[in-house]
């Protein structure tokens, strides 16, 4: 450890206590990955502050030293977004896990960033309220991470993603100054800074306090499980459901490979193993009769569009089982092979049947197993590629297939992420979607918040591909960008520990 690092560690320890600074290699190694373990970076120092004041003090210190840092929640993200390089400090926010206030009358909660998503809903439940965005990792992921990624979830089809539910934020900027964004009481005057911050992937600062909207728990709910003998039919049924004019609370699809992985796990939900795909549709509302009528309509739409059978969850237990199976599906992929890459892309809903077929063709061409589990109602795809990374050359094949899937989605009029973010993993696809000017504009916005680009450096905007732009200095590591719609040559860095 160099003298600089040693003195940094001492000062950090003074702020957070010596037990909450991690410098030993084995400890740093445990923070080298998030939920997309194909990326691996070992942070220089890990610090676990225990309070808002400690976070601010740590950020201020790092600002004074000009050191880069990365905020991290539970590390369940799926784009390599919460990884820090050896020259950066990783600020882990799991200890900031207090729910500061539940204001049932005004239907809002104030939380620290490390509060686990599902714990907020559990705390709101006695008031008949819930925090609605429900990412599949909600039993583990933090609200702070949800804000950074603008997380989605099955029920965001009807209720909107995280951005819809964040009312106000307290943010520690890169230099440790604290700003208040938004207002719990309603829309403030001026630009929507909360909207800008939510989904900024840790590039704009660290949220230290988050005020979120709570919604009443629906009084009436119907959950339907429809199964199909072809993926195409299931995809077509999705469009038919939406075209019916009823907005389901959720509309999810799982294909056969995924169904079988779940059915082999402790979360087996009774999905038919021989189905090519299942659709999980949920209707909810304030009145039994109305929801029941909607459910009947959707059931007949599903049957008319090729559903082999439609099962309606008989009670809350069955509904919960159906949902647990869906939400734990990603984790169950480990049953197929030891390595996994999950992709995230959005396509226009009407193109789902074609895109799913193309993905299957790409998988067959590359000789890979691709399982699909995704938010069908939003056209938000999650192809999961299972592989054994020990097989020579396979990682490259997986990368190539991923790139081809992404190109397919873009060609269909879609985009490269629905909810997992760009992070490290999608940097290379950004130039496929945005020209140099657009990327430079994004970078310019980022530099308003973080002029030195010290917070979560190297993520989201591929600096190499930015066009030099009025008002933007070239960053040290940026080069003058190539002309036109250049492909990024941004390489995914691997550490010496990569396997």
């Amino acid at each position: 450890m160099s003298r600089d690092v040693a003195s940094l560690v001492d000062t950090l320890a003074e702020i957070v206590g010596p037990g909450h600074v991690r410098t030993a290699l084995p400890e740093r190694v445990t923070y080298a990955k998030d939920g997309l373990p194909t990326h691996r970076r070992v942070p220089g120092v890990v610090v676990l502050p225990g309070s808002r004041d400690e976070v601010i003090a740590v950020v201020r210190l790092l600002g004074a030293l000009g050191m880069p840092f990365v905020p991290r929640g539970a590390g369940t993200g799926l784009s390599g977004g919460a990884l820090a390089d050896g020259d950066a400090v990783l600020i882990v926010l799991t200890r900031l896990n207090r729910i500061l206030k539940i204001d049932a009358r005004n239907r809002l909660a104030v939380v620290e960033p490390g509060v686990v998503n599902i714990r907020l809903s559990a705390a709101a439940a006695p008031h008949g309220l819930q925090y609605t965005p429900d990412p599949s990792s909600q039993t583990a992921c933090t609200i702070g991470g949800n804000v950074a990624e603008n997380a989605g979830g099955p029920h965001c089809l009807k209720y909107g993603v995280t951005a819809t539910h964040v009312l106000a934020l307290e943010v520690a900027l890169a230099d440790g100054r604290v700003v208040e964004l938004g207002s719990p009481g309603g829309e403030p005057w001026g630009p929507d800074l909360v909207g800008l911050f939510v989904g900024s992937e840790g590039n704009f600062g660290v949220a230290t306090r988050i005020t979120v909207r709570l919604l009443p728990v629906a009084r009436a709910v119907r959950t339907l499980l429809a199964d199909f003998t072809s993926l195409r039919t299931a995809g077509e049924a999705v469009s038919a459901v939406i075209a019916s004019g009823i907005v389901p609370a959720a509309l999810e699809m799982m294909d056969q490979s995924c169904i079988r992985a779940v059915e082999d796990s402790v979360y087996a939900a009774g999905y038919p193993r021989d189905a090519a795909a299942v659709l999980l549709a949920e209707l909810d509302g304030g009145h039994e009769v109305a929801v029941a009528a909607d459910a009947e309509t959707i059931e007949s739409v599903l049957r008319a569009h090729g559903a082999r059978s439609v099962r309606v969850a008989a009670d809350a237990q069955e509904r919960e089982r159906l949902w647990l199976g869906r939400k734990k599906a990603f984790g169950a992929m480990g049953r197929l092979s030891r390595d996994l890459v999950v992709q995230d892309a959005v396509v226009p809903r009407s193109t789902l049947p074609d895109v799913l077929e193309t993905i299957a063709r790409i998988a067959a061409e590359y000789g890979l197993t691709v399982s699909n589990v995704f938010h069908a109602g939003d056209g938000n795809l999650h192809p999961n590629i299972s592989f054994d990374g020990r097989t020579p050359g396979l990682r490259e094949r997986v990368e190539a297939a991923s790139a081809e899937i992404m190109a397919t989605c873009i060609a269909a009029g879609g985009t490269i992420t629905g909810e997992h973010g760009i992070g490290l993993d999608k940097l290379r696809y950004m130039p496929l979607l945005f020209d140099g000017d657009s990327l430079a504009a994004m970078r310019a916005v980022r530099r308003v918040w973080d002029p030195d680009e010290r917070v979560n450096p190297g993520k989201v905007v591929p600096v190499h591909a930015c066009r030099e732009w009025a008002g933007t200095r070239n960053a040290e590591r940026g080069t003058r960008n190539a002309r036109g719609n250049a492909r990024s040559d941004f390489r995914v860095a691997t550490s010496g520990l990569d396997t």
Partner: protein, 417 residues
Amino acid sequence: MTDRGGFAALDPCVHCGFCLQACPTFLATGDEADSPRGRIELMRALEAGELAPDDPTLALHLDRCLGCRGCEPVCPSGVGYGRGLATARALITARRGVPPLARLALGAMTGAGVSRVVYALARALRTTGIPRWLAGWGRFRFAMGMLAATKPVRNAKSAMRNRGSPVNSAFRTPHSALTPVSLFRGCVMDGLFSHVHDATIRTLEVNGYSVREVPEQVCCGALHEHAGLEPDARRLARLNIAVFGDGDEPIVVNSAGCGAMLKEYGHLLDGDGAPFAARVRDVTELLAARGPRPGAPIDATVAYDPPCHLLHAQRIAEPPERVLGAIPVLRLVKTPDAAQCCGSAGLFTLLEPAMSRAVLAPKLETLAEARPQVVATGNPGCLMQLGAGLAAAGIRAVARHPVELLDESYAAAGYYA
């Protein structure tokens, strides 16, 4: 490929993190290195040779694992965390040896000759009532609380003074219809909880089993395996398999930790122990299979706290509740964090007192709110940890084995002569 031991069981981990909130030590520290996912990274690095088995930080975080296996039943991919941990601990122990305190405790609690003297002295001390009086926080006073928690609860209504009191002829199953089972006695259970063995025998007899003693049996080896002493655990396993003999007579055990270990003999001995392991039953499994027969009412509020090695390792959830459900009037309360580890974890409570108490603390808070008179749990370590914790926190409740309560109910019902 070379023999990877339990490490192969870690292969399905895809780093989803769904285990994090099920891990008591992660909840206590918020540190990935104290989480199942982080420890799997450490074990993988250990297997790959990127980290050495004598790396002190690696050992620190693997030592701080309770081995409660609360991560296993929530894992969608079915990662065999416990198996990986056993292999990792064996590698670490092979390099650094067993820490002196662990070595001492292991000898005192499981050593064939020594432990008999230790338990006799402990029982003598327990009789004086001094441990109850000294019970509190701090290493020594907590240990006193643990010892005090082993003292049998005397109840005026029960006829438990006569040890093997035979079942009243009116309630006896005809001898020919009895199902024979063999009792596994264990070390701590036999040394400090022989009253639970008595209750086990009596309640099983009321439910149509006859209990056979197997005199030559030895320690199950669980504490040795936790300490990384796999060769010792294997030696003990072979001895037990030999003395329990062939046949398919069930082997009944009332300690969740022993039961989980006995059921692992198949893996421990690469398949050789599988027939033995298949015979092992927790006492609540056998009782629940027969109902069990209802007893007389007990007017008490009981919080059931499932031992990790029963709920997570053996996946036995319902049978203990059926046993308590056979007692009329008894009110079973469920605390929200009942399924979480109490921090006992074998020698853990002695070796890692700070983490152990940190894990226990939230449980005591919810128990203080639920205000039960009895906390029921089926494992000696948990009985002692919870008993000591309740005493130290000033919560007026005692920790008892579910079978003790059923036994008391049966005694009051007049099932015993």
